[in-house]
């Protein structure tokens, strides 16, 4: 390819707080049973409604910034971004203009470092949906837009990268890592299907030999999965390459991505670039942190997935792939570490234990005790013999003594099989092949 990708991402995530960003309404737009039930004068933009900022949302923003190696602005403020749209209750969005809470951080990916330009906090807009309804009762349907303000003023973090991304796969990896960290820190659920995390990519190409940024950029919006992000960037690389090879320059514009065609499409050109008339929100006094307060937040971060995975490889002698798999999710990683540390104490080979868990050779659930799971591993790997008859007697005995578990199993909770297997093994008092026990037990249950 004669051209190199120049790409930056802007990612929005709804912050997990109890209440909204600037009022005390419930922050639960996805859980709300009806539209417009979590609103008040503030988030409905009624006369005299005044914003008061949510301390927790600010702290979580700074926590994310610290986790992403950012500098923190000790002095910060909120600004008004003025524009009109039916989803914007006040005719302006409270955001941050020139002094975001965090700036100049990074995330390392397997294809290199992605710089983080800034992280700021703002409020979400209302949710629009489009329907054809018979509004005036004349029997004719008209196309309208419906507005639900349950989402209005929900705290929203925006993370903007430098134009450091060099490939579609790197963009995907960056996004996944960011989501993982936000979930680790319990900052956001990042449910992309519902719109809890929204991706935008700024995509342009430059000649292999050049170093300066291209003189245009195409903004791809409303992408709701990492797969689509990757596909949209790949599509854009091809589309823009063709244009450049024909000797023209791609138009600076906003494009959407259509998952069913796998193509991006033009939404609007940037010619009418908006003038947002930013100015400091006079309703909100500025925010000033001390370094000590920042340090306190920093101390609450705990171990992040990358660090944990490196530690796992060292401490438990695991391969990199397994260590990564075990640290995808924070609660699961805690469980795995309990198993690992017990295994290590008993001088078992950790990699072997983990292999049998990840390959599902050993059935387990995260609700179980680590010791029980490890016990099953040991049983499975050192086996005595047992004849079918003896085993059936034991199984029958266990099943009649555990009617509850049997009922649960029959109601579809197949995970209790693990428990019943455990009981059978205990009763047998032998280390028999767990696969045989499982097979016969399942047969007896059905």
């Amino acid at each position: 390819m004669p051209y190199k990708l120049v790409c930056g991402l802007e990612i929005h995530a709804e912050v997990k707080t109890n209440s909204k960003m600037f009022c005390s309404c419930k922050n639960d737009p996805f859980g709300a049973e009806k539209p417009n039930i979590y609103t008040c004068p503030v988030c409905l933009g009624m006369p005299g409604g005044l914003p008061v900022a949510n301390r927790k949302a600010i702290e979580l923003t700074i926590k994310l910034g610290l986790a992403l190696n950012c500098q923190i602005n000790l002095f910060s403020k909120f600004d008004r971004k003025n524009y009109f749209y039916p989803d914007l209750a006040k005719g302006y969005q409270i955001s941050q203009f020139d002094i975001p809470f965090c700036h100049d951080g990074y995330i390392d990916t397997s294809e290199g470092r992605v710089g983080i330009h800034r992280i700021h906090l703002e409020e979400d807009t209302a949710k629009l949906s489009h329907q054809e309804i018979d509004l005036d009762g004349d029997g004719e349907l008209e196309k309208v837009t419906l507005v639900d303000f349950n989402r209005s003023s929900v705290p929203l973090i925006e993370i903007v990268t430098e134009p450091d991304i060099k490939s579609a796969t790197q963009a995907k990896e960056y996004g996944q890592k960011l989501r993982q960290i936000m979930r680790y820190l319990d900052i956001a659920d990042c449910d992309m299907e519902k719109g809890g995390m929204r991706l935008e990519a700024n995509i342009s190409l430059r000649k292999e030999s050049r170093t300066e940024l291209p003189d245009y950029k195409v903004e791809c919006k409303n992408i709701n999965s990492f797969k689509f992000l990757e596909a949209a960037i790949k599509f854009e690389i091809d589309r823009q390459t063709e244009i450049l090879q024909n000797g023209s320059t791609p138009i600076q514009e906003t494009r959407g991505y259509n998952p069913s065609t796998g193509k991006t499409f033009s939404q609007r050109s940037k010619e009418d670039a908006a003038d947002y008339r930013y100015f400091p929100d006079p309703d909100l006094p500025p925010i000033e942190f001390t370094q000590a307060e920042i340090d306190t937040i920093k101390n609450k971060i705990g171990e992040l997935p990358d660090a944990k995975s490196v530690r796992f490889t060292k401490e438990y002698n695991l391969n990199e792939k397994s260590a990564k798999d075990l640290t995808i999710n924070r609660t699961e990683s805690v469980f795995f570490e309990e198993v690992l540390s017990l295994a290590k104490n008993e001088s078992l080979e950790c990699q072997k234990v983990i292999n049998s868990l990840l390959n599902k050779k050993i059935e387990f659930s995260f609700e179980e005790k680590a010791a029980d799971v490890l016990a099953r591993f040991k049983t499975a790997t050192t086996s005595d013999t047992v004849d079918t008859k003896e085993l059936q007697i034991t199984i029958d005995k266990v099943l009649s003594a555990n009617q509850d578990a049997v009922d649960k199993y029959k109601a579809g909770k197949t995970a209790v099989a693990g428990f019943l297997i455990g009981q059978v093994m205990k009763e047998l008092g032998k280390k028999v092949d767990i696969a045989i026990v499982r097979e016969q037990l399942v047969a007896s249950l059905s």
């Binding site: 927790k56 419906l146 507005v147 639900d148 500025p286």
Partner: protein, 101 residues
């Protein structure tokens, strides 16, 4: 500093205020009259002075993350003053999804 009615029409668009041709001429005159008064600020000798946005000097006036249902509207209250509603939603003429964000 003077403002012409082409500028006024651009501002009207930004401000989402419908303005007729006749009004735009009148507004341009009023703007110019006002800006002459405002332009005297340049003589106040404040170029290097710090900016004051808020006079109280307050900082860090924040809320705890607590839901207060008593401060929220019921759906009926939220919709009570609206021109057009449907099944608990506000209704507006059809627009494209997500202008920003």
């Amino acid at each position: 500093m003077s403002v012409n009615n082409t500028q006024v029409k651009h501002i009207a668009q930004l401000a989402n205020i419908p303005v007729t041709e006749e009004e735009s001429v009148k507004l341009a005159e009023a703007f110019t009259e006002t800006l002459i008064v405002v332009d005297r600020l340049k003589k106040a000798g404040a170029n290097k002075t710090a900016i004051t946005h808020q006079v109280t000097g307050f900082k860090n006036i924040l809320r705890d993350d607590v839901v207060k249902p008593e401060q929220s509207f019921t759906q009926e209250e939220a919709l009570a003053n609206a021109k057009s509603t449907y099944n608990g939603f506000f209704v507006v003429p059809y627009v494209l999804q997500n202008k920003d964000n």
